[in-house]
């Protein structure tokens, strides 16, 4: 709408970071002036100290790694099952007619709601958390994959028939690349869900990890440790999201190519 003052990309990036630092300065000021109780809002310097200490001498490193591992394993498992199953269902109109209504009904169901059920079956164990993560991350993956395979341009199937491509060639060279944008989008959502469920699972089942750490910190009023943990969780979310986006951008570079 309003025109952009001329600054190149780096300039804007720096300005943007500058604004971010302004917010941190604001945080510092508010905490220093005790406008909010330090129990609720420790100053950024305290949070930073807790973060550094926890990562170097404390146990934040193991806990962070535990959460990341949980998230990744659950997500990878869900991806594998989701893509395979989604491909099988997606290419067959018959299969879709049977399966899609059920999937549509299950779509809005919170994955976390499966947690009580999982606890009933598997108890408060790591296996339970992993199962919930995998289950939760599975749905967006499955739905997106089914959609991707179902939405392959019909003209391309005609082209395949005219060229005499084998069934294996059709799936590998036509259907899969065509479905890739949807699959990757599903994987991105799945990753977000995996992180959320990892945290909730750790909180509920008291399994070692950042989720449990921040809950304990809150209970013992260690707000600096609490904030440090939250920052780390944000960092995990950011890094994993960025990495996946980079992979996606590379695999899908044909989409963003301009004339």
């Amino acid at each position: 709408m309003t025109a952009l003052p001329t600054l190149n990309r780096i300039g804007w990036l720096l300005a943007s970071i500058g604004v971010g630092l302004l917010f941190i300065a604001l945080w510092y000021a508010v905490a220093k002036a005790r406008l909010v109780s330090p129990v609720f809002l420790p100053g950024p310097e305290r949070a930073w100290d807790a973060l550094v200490y926890g990562l170097t001498e404390g146990d934040l490193r193991e806990k962070t790694w535990a959460t990341i591992e949980r998230m990744l394993y659950g997500w990878l498992l869900a991806s594998l099952v989701g893509i395979l199953l989604g491909a099988l269902i997606g290419v067959s109109q018959v299969a879709r007619a049977y399966v899609e209504p059920t999937l549509e009904f299950l779509r809005p169901l919170p994955a976390s709601a499966m947690m009580p059920v999982a606890i009933a079956i598997l108890g408060l164990t790591d296996a339970m958390v992993l199962a919930v993560i995998a289950f939760g991350a599975l749905w967006p993956m499955l739905l997106a994959t089914v959609h991707g395979f179902a939405a392959v341009e019909p003209r391309l199937y005609q082209v395949s028939r005219a060229l005499g491509l084998s069934r294996r060639e059709v799936i590998w060279k036509i259907a899969l690349p065509s479905a890739m944008p949807d699959i990757l989008a599903g994987m991105r959502v799945g990753l977000t869900i995996a992180l959320i469920l990892a945290v909730v699972g750790e909180m509920l089942a008291s399994r070692p990890g950042l989720g449990q750490a921040i809950l304990l910190a809150a209970r013992s009023f260690q707000s600096a440790d609490l904030y440090a943990g939250v920052i780390l969780l944000g960092a995990i979310g950011y890094v994993s999201g960025t990495l996946l986006s980079a992979v996606e951008a590379h695999l899908l570079r044909w989409r963003n190519a301009h004339t």
């Binding site: 005609q158 060229l163 005499g164 060279k173 690349p177 065509s178 044909w254 190519a257």
Partner: protein
């Protein structure tokens, strides 16, 4: 006007009817296409021209009568029959480069791997896209995309080219350029061409023979032999008295049909 005797025909339709979804699409189709012939088929929309093409391609089976290729009944798509679709954007693989798209046809026909690169370069050169080998289809203009599709079809080394209103979506200047390119390619490769269009002048300009169709249900109405000299020229051929006479005759037929 005498049709080609059946024994010298490459593609022949014998009393072919086509019913799809309970509706009679085509009826009484009788034609024999000689090897190396350029046959234009014109008609208003809805007269089953595309279905005619699909029958010749082996993508559809006739409900009555038979379609033969080189004397033998057509049972399915053949790798030496290539189809050029009107919606080139949908018929190309958007995730492969221009070279990659041509490669698909070579992969399908099992062209020797070590000679593929050379053949792709040859074909790109033939249609004038050598400089764009590594571009994705959405980086190419409409005319270039259609050329690319034609190149992919040529990679099949086809004996027959089936073209379904290939230039319908292009602007007039590009259309004329591609018309001449197709004529040159047909002359060079000796391919048999079945060319569907709703553009009367295009049909006359390109063909050795033109057949006009009537709709509801689709059937052949009249056919004219085109005695214009080859090679054709956009300017001089279109001014020839024979061209104008054919154009008027064809126009009268089509106008009659449109009632």
């Amino acid at each position: 006007m005498t049709d080609t005797p059946r024994d010298r025909a490459l593609i022949a339709f014998d009393g072919v009817d086509l019913t799809l979804g309970g509706k009679l699409i085509l009826t009484g189709i009788d034609v024999a296409i000689r090897k190396g012939e350029f046959l234009s088929v014109v008609g208003p929309s809805g007269c089953g021209k595309t279905s005619l093409l699909n029958l010749a391609a082996g993508l559809l089976m006739p409900s009555k009568g038979r379609v033969t290729y080189d004397g033998k009944p057509v049972t399915g798509p053949r790798q030496d029959i290539a189809i050029v679709f009107q919606d080139y954007g949908k018929a190309l693989l958007p995730w492969r480069t221009a070279a990659g798209n041509i490669s698909l046809a070579l992969e399908a026909t099992g062209y020797p791997k070590d000679r593929r690169e050379a053949r792709i370069a040859e074909l790109l050169d033939l249609i004038g896209l050598s400089a764009h080998a590594d571009k994705f289809p959405n980086q190419l203009s409409g005319g270039m995309q259609q050329r690319l599709q034609i190149a992919r079809c040529l990679a099949q080394d086809p004996a027959v080219l089936l073209m379904d209103e290939p230039f319908g979506a292009l602007d007039a200047m590009t259309r004329q350029a591609l018309q001449d390119e197709v004529l040159a390619l047909a002359a060079r490769t000796g391919a048999t061409v079945l060319f569907i269009t709703h553009d009367l002048e295009e049909a006359i300009y390109l063909g050795d023979r033109v057949i006009a169709m009537r709709p509801n249900p689709g059937r052949f109405d009249v056919s004219f032999a085109i005695d214009l000299p080859r090679p054709r020229d956009q300017l001089t051929t279109r001014e020839q008295p024979d061209f104008l006479r054919l154009r008027r005759e064809l126009f009268d037929v089509i106008k009659d049909v449109e009632h």
